[in-house]
Symmetry: C2
Subunit: 226 residues, 2 copies
């Protein structure tokens, strides 16, 4: 296209924008933010983009592929900055907290990411690279790094679900008499008074995992925060 | 109904069986075992039960309710027998392994259970009661029991997803050059050679959690297995 052609088009109707992955992800996020994941259908997405569903299907294979793109996008907002400034154990904790908070807002992506191959998810892979490089610099043996990441991620995904659980999920109701020990434990749980039971459990588990996985790797927590 | 009426009916057409929760759960499991969770629709379930969808809806409110029933059923197959025979830390490990294995076969139930109120799930509550009573007997302070169960469950749910992940999920493919540290860590991960990477990560995380949560509760692992 020459400069003249370009000028002519700009002056006339707007140049039709191609349906890029970025535009599709942005539109999907808009659909989700107004109606939740239940509202995310291919036809709702096409409507939001102002195109026919058939045009959308020319650019993305399936809703599953949209979810994979959303997952990779969400991963890019997980904070890994601690690995360039903090002791390894604090960096792992900050990463895990951020990771859990991001996916607590996107729990429908958890089943997607749990089986997503990293070769198709460049931003997800960039996150793993930062974590792996940070642990290696801190002296972690190479063969302990992936098992530690996988164990922490498993905990993070489950904790992201738990962050959205109703506060009274463990109220035993009319079954209290059949479950005296559990009912008593629920009434006494730490963090309950402040309504932060999920946070208390998350921090307790995170502390155990970071300390225990580090010790397995032959390292002691550097920050002394444990 | 008199005995005579009863005899007359038995002799004629079969007495029509009521659609109980148990029958609906059994039928749902049959649908899932032949076609997976993707095949579990209310109309497929009605077909399997030999009734009209409207008749099914007279007995169960929604597919979500069927999933809640399935969840409570699945929970009853989690093995808690260790709490009556093993040291607390070994009992927790055996429970966690069984729990993960059950839900690895039923991952679509994980989002259901993570927000399910126990008052409507008697078998789930019975499991919690056994775990809570076992930890209390072992000397766990009451206010540490629920956070420990929640932290372990979060890990178990995430690990159940991971158990179904493809073995090559971390193969970095054409992006290997952009992720040298992570790619090297993947090649060296322990457990990879035997194809049990998910198990290695699960056992490493489970060990860290059981030891760390117990230590937080002021207890040392009794079995010495850690």
């Amino acid at each position: 296209m020459t400069r003249d052609e370009s000028r002519r088009r700009s002056a006339g109707r707007p140049v039709k924008r191609v349906l890029s992955q970025e535009r599709i992800v942005t539109a999907a996020l808009a659909v989700i933010s107004s109606g939740g994941y239940g509202a995310l259908t291919m036809s709702a997405l096409a409507r939001r983009l102002g195109v026919a569903p058939s045009a959308l299907y020319n650019h993305v294979e399936s809703k599953q592929e949209v979810l994979r793109w959303l997952q990779d996008y969400a991963m890019s907002s997980v904070d890994v900055s601690g690995f360039s400034s903090l002791p390894w154990d604090e960096a792992l904790r900050e990463w895990a907290r951020s990771y859990r908070n991001v996916f607590a807002r996107h729990t429908p992506l958890i089943p997607v990411i749990a089986v997503l191959q990293v070769s198709g998810a460049p931003r997800t892979l960039a996150m793993y690279e930062t974590v792996a490089a940070g642990l290696e610099r801190a002296g972690w043996p190479a063969n302990q790094i992936v098992p530690a990441i996988v164990a922490l991620e498993s905990f993070i995904y489950g904790s992201a679900y738990d962050a959205g659980a109703p506060a009274d999920i463990f109220d035993t109701g009319t079954l209290a008499a059949d479950s005296p020990h559990f009912t008593a434990a629920v009434q006494q749980q730490s963090g309950r008074a402040e309504g932060r039971a999920a946070d208390t459990a998350f921090e307790a588990g995170l502390d155990a995992l970071v300390t225990g996985l580090g010790s397995r790797a032959g390292l002691r927590a550097e920050s002394g925060a444990a």
